[in-house]
């Protein structure tokens, strides 16, 4: 898995490339922890190059979303492929996390 981050004003955009599964979720967890530790409260995750996600990956997202919500921050995701979308729908994550289609929509109003 490849993870890059960049900032757009006060929003941190995290780009995930590859698979978010039990092997790679600790890496994603570290990257998200680092953003929060650095004071980041508005996080957008770019899923366009994420091939698939397993429940280990969902766990990382859920934990981060909860922490950001407690800190009055926000987490938005965009660019989910068909398989990732299916996993979100099956697990009910499609309704508890904020999922939008494009980066522009993710950044709008944050």
């Amino acid at each position: 898995m490849e993870i890059t981050t960049r900032t757009e004003q006060d929003v941190t955009v995290l780009v995930l490339v590859g698979h978010l599964d039990s092997n790679t979720s600790p890496e994603a967890q570290q990257a998200l922890d680092a953003i929060l530790a650095g004071g980041g409260r508005k996080v957008v995750i770019d899923f366009r190059a994420l091939d698939y996600i397993s429940s280990a990956g969902l766990r990382v997202l859920l934990g981060t979303a909860k922490r950001l919500s407690q800190e009055r921050g926000a987490l938005r995701l965009f660019g989910l492929n068909e398989t990732v979308r299916e996993v979100f729908e099956i697990s009910g994550f499609a309704t508890i996390l904020t999922v939008v289609d494009t980066e522009a929509n993710a950044l709008r109003g944050l």
């Binding site: 092997n23 398989t83 009910g92």
Partner: protein, 140 residues
């Protein structure tokens, strides 16, 4: 002989082994021209089941056997851990209890197996001699 592969992973390297299984499957799926949706669905199922077995099953060795039939893909996982049927719980009604809860009350448990059930067309478990045998079927 039908296209397929068999890969074994051993005790010291189970987590690395799970990664190797994933890579081997991706390579096989690519070579056979399997549709992306099927490739990703099976990859998720493999990750869920291997992670479960490695984390809780106490297995020293896991073997994964993949066979491509004319109209279905069959994935068999065999491990020598303690007897455990991952599908032993009744299939929950959809949506899974808790899936409609708001963010603050949501926790994750049993999600992985729920995903496997929903993404595969058939899931079976049997205890064969002193091995756990799981067979997944995905129609093509």
């Amino acid at each position: 002989m039908r296209p397929g592969f068999r890969i074994g992973i051993g005790a010291e390297t189970l987590w690395d082994g799970a990664d190797r299984v994933g890579a081997k499957f991706a390579e096989f799926a690519e070579a056979q021209g399997l549709p992306a949706a099927i490739r990703r669905g099976v990859s998720v199922a493999l990750d869920e089941l291997l992670a479960n077995t490695i984390a809780y099953g106490g297995a020293a060795r896991i073997v994964v056997d993949v066979t491509l039939h004319p109209n279905r893909l069959s994935v068999m996982l065999i491990d020598d851990g303690k007897p455990f049927d991952p599908f032993g719980q009744e299939a929950p009604p959809a949506p899974l209890p808790g899936t409609a809860l708001p963010l603050e009350e949501r926790s994750i448990g049993g999600e992985g197996i729920h995903l496997v059930r929903r993404m595969m067309d058939d899931v079976r478990y049997e205890r064969r001699a002193d091995r756990n045998v799981v067979v997944l079927t995905k129609r093509l």
